[in-house]
């Protein structure tokens, strides 16, 4: 079972004296809402928080429904519910209920859409995306305008961060990004764009697509005045060919994401701004700030 939502719940409930505000979706104390618009398949699909479940679980029912039952079992104090339907079709008011929204394995269009809806609300809804491909993972964070207090030496300092939306972030021209920015960022954008252009579901790529993907990479690099070597063939091949999640990487990302959500909900701790990348091959887990501020 993916460690994500579980560990969040656990963290939230670790100390019996911690109390979070009621309307939290994730991090378990209040309620958790799962959404999926697919029957159980081997791949993990969800628009809210995701649990790639046991692949052997056949039968009918939605993925979210199954997860819901299991989650309730972990902690009866958490109200876990299921929301059916296509996330993209939910209107802004739907998201009003939540303080945090996490989406995974969604198309570029869906990401942008949900992110925008979260931003339209008068209250701040924290928005996260998490994606795993091959043995890589990417997390994106949008806390909009985020103010928090932290202790420095003997005093409490007020901090304020300004986040970009996903759309804003990825629109930043590549050449104006620092040279050291993780190659994985660019590679994910290429694959994302490929899936958009070819109208594929997230993760619906294979080795046959590689030539086209490489070509797309070349085009994008040209447009962004970026050297092609910044997005190595081998990396793209990995992302295109093995799209199934790799459980240990999911565990790592889930843990990182869990920590972030807890921080955002509790208002304590420096939040991640705004991308996180992990590649099991080199073992690095890097934070990149790709934003307009």
């Amino acid at each position: 079972m993916n460690g994500e939502e579980l560990t969040e719940q656990e963290t939230a409930l670790y100390d019996r004296q911690i109390r979070f505000c009621k309307n939290i979706v994730l991090a378990g104390v209040g309620s958790l809402t799962l959404n999926d618009d697919n029957p159980v398949t081997e791949e993990a699909l969800a628009a809210n928080f995701l649990i790639p479940f046991d692949e052997n679980m056949g039968g009918g029912g939605s993925l979210a429904g199954l997860c819901c039952d299991c989650l309730k079992d972990f902690n009866p104090m958490v109200h876990v519910s299921v929301e059916k339907g296509d996330l993209s079709s939910f209107d802004v008011d739907f998201f009003q209920k939540f303080d945090v929204v996490v989406i995974s394995c969604c198309s570029l269009a869906a990401k942008k859409l949900v992110n925008e809806k979260c931003r339209k609300l008068s209250k701040r809804v924290a928005f996260y995306t998490v994606d795993c491909r091959d043995s890589c993972g990417e997390i994106f964070v949008d806390l909009q305008k985020y103010a928090y207090a932290k202790k420095k030496a003997d005093e409490t300092v007020e901090c304020q961060l300004q986040y970009s939306s996903f759309e804003e972030a990825i629109a930043i021209p590549w050449r104006s990004l620092p040279k050291r920015v993780s190659k994985l960022y660019f590679a994910m954008r290429v694959v994302e764009r490929f899936e958009e252009v070819e109208r594929r579901k997230p993760g619906e790529t294979s080795i046959e697509d590689l030539p086209k993907v490489l070509k797309l990479r070349n085009e994008l690099c040209l447009a962004h005045s970026l050297n092609e070597s910044q997005i190595p063939d081998s990396l793209l091949e990995r992302l295109v060919v093995s799209t199934k999640e790799f459980p240990p990487v999911s565990a790592v990302l889930g843990g990182i994401l869990g920590q972030e959500v807890i921080k955002a909900i509790s208002g304590k701790g420096d939040p991640l701004k705004n991308f996180f990348f992990f590649d099991a091959v080199d073992g690095k887990g890097l934070i990149e700030d790709i934003s307009t501020s």
């Binding site: 460690g3 479940f53 030496a153 093995s242 790799f246 240990p248 565990a251 843990g255 807890i262």
Partner: protein, 694 residues
Amino acid sequence: MASGQQLSAIKGAKVLMVGAGGIGCELLKTLALSGFHDIHIIDMDTIEVSNLNRQFLFRQSHVGQSKAKVARDAVLRFRPNISITPYHANVKDSSFNVDFFKQFSVVLNGLDNLDARRHVNRLCLAADVPLVESGTTGFLGQVTVHIKGQTECYECQPKPAPKTYPVCTITSTPSKMKGVVKDPDLLSIDHHGTGFVHCIVWAKDLLFAKLFGDKKQDNDLNVRSNDAATSSDHSEDIFEPKKDEDIQQYANRVYDHVFGHNIQTALSNEETWKNRNKPRPIYVKEVLSDEPIQQNGNAEKSLVNDNLSSLSAMTYLGLKNPQDIWSLKENTRVFFAALKLFFSKRQKEIGNLTFDKDDSLAVEFVTAAANIRAASFNIPLHSLFEAKGIAGNIVHAVATTNAIIAGLIVIEAIKSYLDVAMWTCRVTCYNISGMKWTSFSVAGTDGVGMTYCLEHPSRKMLLMPVEPFEPNESCYVCSETPLLLEVNTNRAKLRDLVEKVVTSKLGMSLPLITHGSSLLYEVGDDLEEDEVANYAANLEKVLSELPYAITGGTIITVEDLQQELVCNINIKHREEFDEEKEPDGMVLHGWTPAPATEKNEDATDNNNGASTSSAAKPAADVMEADDELSIIEPGIETISAGGKKRKLSDVPNSEAPLDEKRAKKIPEKPESDGDVIVMLDDGNDDIRDSSTVV
């Protein structure tokens, strides 16, 4: 990454997990999901209620059952076709011998104590099986891979024994202490930086103990209470309630005494304060000046009449959030409310109480008392939540860290199994970094060191891989280098050698000591009666008077057959030993010396391996944090990207001098590419109190 076929090759791997706790549960789940088909788990514990919120494979109904077995059952439910073999046993048991270990492709540790880790390390070396070690403490985590002959073994870097903290006069068993601090009022300030922790220790081990614990115990508060300068009656115990005193009056008196009078008296000694900031005395009437001190009547009546099923000062006062930092006034109110609640509702327990972190009233009292004292010494106040963590010796276990670490363990396990060459990377070690740490240690009442860490992310690299280091050629465990022992052979007994060196420092469970070809001592359940008697007799003999005398120049051999570890020790006779610095009366050399730092006066090669450096700790354990007492060795290993140790990728032929090869464990500045430092120790800008690790 490894292709599908390589990953399916994992099915052929046989994995041993040692430990089924916090890391263990996450690890087993991830291993199963990742395609491992043959997993063995050893864990000697049974499930407790406090495990349930984190060790997610367990349920309420499982309390009391074997962790290994329940974990196995839980995972089989979602992976019914794999093989998981549980062992409800101690990994040090003799049935887990070298042959047992040899059957595995890789061993994964999820342990919480140094002793077991060393044991497993030795068996893995003997069996030539890769070992993946790990630990978590709060938001920090570490994964290291150990492959015989290629990398360091787990013991190549010394893990210092827990430090006892010089302040620990505050328990009633002085024998556990190293040195005595005579004036409890100096507690909070002598140990620069660890101010609030000391306030907690004072509040818990002195005041709480004095008020609610065993009156017969010696308590250093008596030092002040019986101050001859102020009291004509030397034997008057301030803490004894007077005849016509009601509870509030008593409480006021106690308050004024410990926070006012005692401080006042301490201030009168000018010498003390020459180089220290002076505390200020605090009296009730100045804190609660704007309200009548309720001597009797209403407040108390409501206490008595209230049916407080959960006795809580906070509830009584309407304080809702344990993460709030109370003002001095609020702390004072909590102090009084808690004290009154104890005396009015828990009268029977008074005189027998020991502090229990799960006793919320006790925690409230200790928090309040510590905070008032902190206010007196101008130390920042803390919330109940934080105070509880310190007082309960807990580093709050963070489940998300375990999940991350488990993921990294599996990645490394796969790499080591598939043969590193298949991947384009080497075996790596990880630190979960990006967190800036403040750590400081204090000894709990059992003399064990504890490290309390705070988190503060500050760098770009959250997960930092580090190339593993070559084996330490002087490691007595994996490189068979002889050790040197300085000892007074005319005074020390064989027993001392066994207890202070062989079983403790060398970590041998079933030792065998030979001198030449004669067996001086051994442990085993297959010994004859006369052999046992003979060994018992030998234990009581002075070294130079043993049948085959151990004197200067002798070489003895110490071995543990189960661990397949053999050590030679050269004996050097020495007459005198410093009682304070070398209390064992013997000094063992051959431990990789801890690096000397500016703050470290006594870090020399000659340490008993015990009280080594203060700051910039050499490698120590990052333990799995658990709800129960986290016994965490002080200091945490710092591996910087620019470490001076030779890495596997370095040209192996160069003959670097010994110093260069020796790891410099001083936290270093990051290289300019922004790689992170894991500053786990002193040297950090701390968040509150400064951070001397003593």
